[in-house]
């Protein structure tokens, strides 16, 4: 077996141009997912009438089905819905105007939202009840108490899970090749089949994914160090 080392190197260089696509999908899905997840978690914690049943159904459905299925459902289902609505209301917007990557953003945000709602929920529940009571006792509104006291502490608690989820999303984003978005993985397939050097091209892709994963872990460690100053000398 001979491996073309220089080809791995040149593949690596070529793959760099696909990094922004992968990072954009990961970042957008995680940020939107976190927003969705936070809202869903609050709806479920406060048992908002009606909405909390819908929220629970959303979470079990999404967690009970593969991420690839979500992508395919959105890819084939969303255009039908959008075009039907456009016809109904006479909009000029057509589903063909949606860029391919848009489907990835939407579907992965929905996926991430369900998983992150559980992460956020456990984070919120891990904050001692006495904290929000103390916030109320000094006259804060629920919004102030959540925003200034509960969320900052919950965030510190859920940071490790959030980091894991981000890494899962980074790796899961490889599914976008099914809707013809060229991310790192898709690009490596293109390079591989164009040159008939599959192993080398995939090694190059693996190296980049590994590097990005390490980067996320480093960033997490840095943030963790910053926000956890208050735990110095504490037991928990």
């Amino acid at each position: 077996m001979n491996i073309d080392l220089p080809f791995i190197w040149s593949s690596l260089i070529e793959l760099l141009s696909a990094i922004p696509t992968t990072l954009a999908i990961t970042a957008v899905s995680m940020l939107c997912g976190l927003a969705i997840g936070t809202v869903v978690a609050l709806i479920r914690l406060y048992k908002v009438p009606l909405l909390h049943h819908i929220a629970a159904a959303y979470v079990t459905f999404i967690r009970g089905t593969p991420m690839l299925t979500h992508l395919l459902l959105i890819y084939f289902g969303l255009p039908v819905i959008i075009d039907a609505l456009s016809d109904q209301f006479g909009w000029s917007f057509r589903s063909v105007n949606i860029p391919m990557i848009g489907f990835a953003y939407i579907s992965f945000s929905i996926t991430a939202g369900a998983y992150l709602s559980e992460v956020v929920r456990s984070g919120l529940q891990a904050v001692n009840k006495g904290q929000i009571e103390a916030a109320y006792s000094i006259g804060m509104t629920t919004r102030q108490a959540l925003g200034r006291i509960v969320f900052p502490q919950a965030f510190a608690i859920l940071l490790p899970s959030l980091s894991n989820s981000t890494i899962s999303m980074l790796h899961g984003s490889t599914l976008v090749f099914t809707v013809s978005v060229v991310d790192i993985n898709a690009k490596s397939q293109i390079i591989a089949s164009a040159n008939w050097k599959f192993f080398e091209a995939f090694i190059a892709a693996a190296i980049i994914y590994w590097g990005l994963t390490i980067l996320i872990e480093r960033l997490t460690a840095m943030v963790e160090k910053r926000i956890n100053i208050y735990n110095r000398g504490g037991v928990t």
Partner: protein, 250 residues
Amino acid sequence: MIKLTQIKKSFGRHQVLKGIDLTVEKGQVVAILGPSGSGKTTLLRCMNYLERPSEGEITIDEFTLNCRRPSKSDIHELRKKSAMVFQQYNLFRHKTALENVMEGLVIVQKVPKEQARVRSIELLEKVGLGSKLDSYPSQLSGGQQQRVGIARALALNPKVILFDEPTSSLDPELVGEVLSVIRKIAKEGITMIIVTHEMGFAQEVAGHVIFIDDGVIVERGTPNELFGSPKEERTKQFLKRFTPDGVYSI
């Protein structure tokens, strides 16, 4: 100043408060005594609306709230009248001692930051923590944390401060420092309601003592009346545990 009318509270089928009537005058220090599970904490929490009474009326500083259908803003209004010192301190873990005290001033009362800072430092110095401004709760002893908790409550200039067994999670050698802070602020004429098991302390600082058992006020009076010559059998039984011969001695 404070008036509770027929406060009732049930958890499920279990009625914990069975109609509490209580009036507290401005500047009064009231101690609440009673056996474990009698509803002392629940009563205090109802006044701050951390617990929602099933029935009754709460008036603090001319603001009356009927517990049947209070609006969110009424609850908020009522809460702003009082401040609470918790048994478990409940300091904001991610904030320093100084930030804990400033929080209510800046966020709730919208006092300019610099002014809030000056006032908070003053208060922390008053409770003897001038050197711990930048410490996080996890870096403070229980007694120090509770003194920050008291400063946090004082900062808001509340009409009444509610203390729920402020010293009962403390090691015995730390109890004194917290009691002396409370003693100090009692002398300043701040209205206080204190749930405590420290009989000697209650006798000393309180102008009024209330004995609660099983969700009702069994007996009330001055410390001398209640400790010296309790009328009710249940009060006598309870006090006996603290003074073996059944006679309160000064």
